[in-house]
Symmetry: C7
Subunit: 95 residues, 7 copies
């Protein structure tokens, strides 16, 4: 069973804060609740004004920086996932 | 008797939370009131700027993730339905 | 004497709630004040960017679902009518 | 002396409520202050994106339904007039 | 010394209320502070999307109706002037 | 050392109020804090939709009227400067 | 390990206030919390409407003026960085 994001949405599995410290990137104290890193699981489908599909700037497997606001949480098989519009993603962490 | 959604609206029959747990997807506690899954019953009719019909990304029978906000409830033959703009639908659950 | 709606407006005669229960569609409790069904009496006149007339998705005689917000009430010969922008109409009830 | 409305504005002379009851159209109680009928005195001048003049949907002499909000009052020779953007006019009363 | 308005702005010299009563046009009581008539002193410079200059609908010398809100006051040689965007001007008084 | 404004921004050095009275132009009492005249030090770089550079309506050396709101203050070598979007500048004072 | 900014975002490493005084540029008192200078570390990727890449107005190594509002803080290897949309950057300091 899987979720197919609609439109310009990206399905992201947030990464727990403990893992984040290992990787060397920490989100500041004032942003404890939601902002964090996540792993892209799936992307939606964007069309330009002529109806042609437009490539996403992120792909499944990418580690992304999630915005503090925006995005909606859903639970799948006990995993909390997030559906975030691509333009709200801040950056990609390249290792 | 049936409802034909207007414009980019999608008619959705929400799925009760009990069914949701069976399927393995649960909407988080903080979102008890409205957000949930639903089954698409009918889609409206979208036109591009040249007046050509544009296909919807969802179709009757799809199981969709409904947004917390947005959408309007109507009752038909004792069923509570929702009219939601397509761009507010979060994702499609594929089994 | 009649009212010609301007622009993308639709003139609608709301249907009393009693009639609504007969037909099998009931608007939920939390929406008692304004949202309801109505019968389209007249539509306005929409133009595309080249000045060509654009067809409305509803026509006189259609039974439509009215939005909770939006629309303006006027009284004609003791009938309370509503002027609603077409894009605010939710759906058409087909019998 | 006269006022030439600028842009998409329409100059309207509101019709007193007493006259309105005679004609059979009454604006509801909750809208006593401003919304009412008016007679169009003059229209402005609208241009499309190529600089060509665009016809107004109302003309001098038309009886129009004024919106509750929008429009600015001016006084000319002891008459209170209103300058209203055309797209805010609700409808035309045809007798 | 003079002010050249920038963009779609119009430089207007407001006309004192006493003069206004003489001319027969009075702004209503509820609008005592700012809205009034003014004389156009200079207009800015508007370009269309191809970079061609677009004519203003008002010209130096015109008597215009000023909006209640919008516009910025400046003082030049003891005269209080207003810089108002053209689309905020309500109408031109033609005598 | 100098600042290159980005986009449609203009770098302005505000002129002290004392100088303003000499020149004959005074900003009204209700606008003591920020609105005033300034001298343009540098302009940014604007592109049209085809990527061609678009000329600014003001140039270095111009005396401009600054808006009450908008603009950001920076200090360079003990001078307080302002970065203001060009479309927020009200006018140019020509002597 | 590095961060690749998404879309029109720029990754900036803020410069501590002490360094700022040395360089001669000081941000005013009323703006102590966030606004300051920063060094550009990386820029995102912007596309025009035809899908062609558009050059940024800033490049890695530039010293930029950061806006008071806008931008999101992230921590990488104990450095606090900011992700700021390019159009929110105020200017570039050229030495």
């Amino acid at each position: 069973m899987k979720i197919r994001p609609l439109g310009d949405r990206v399905l992201v599995e947030p990464i727990e804060e403990k893992e984040q410290t290992v990787g060397g990137i920490i989100i500041p104290d004032s942003a404890k609740e939601k902002p964090m890193q996540g792993k892209v699981i799936a992307v939606g489908k964007k069309l330009d004004k002529d109806g042609n599909e437009v490539k996403f700037d992120v792909k499944a497997g990418d580690t992304v920086l999630l915005p503090k606001y925006g995005g909606t949480e859903v639970k799948v098989d006990d995993k909390k996932l997030q559906l975030v519009r691509e333009e709200d993603l801040l950056g990609v962490i390249e290792k």
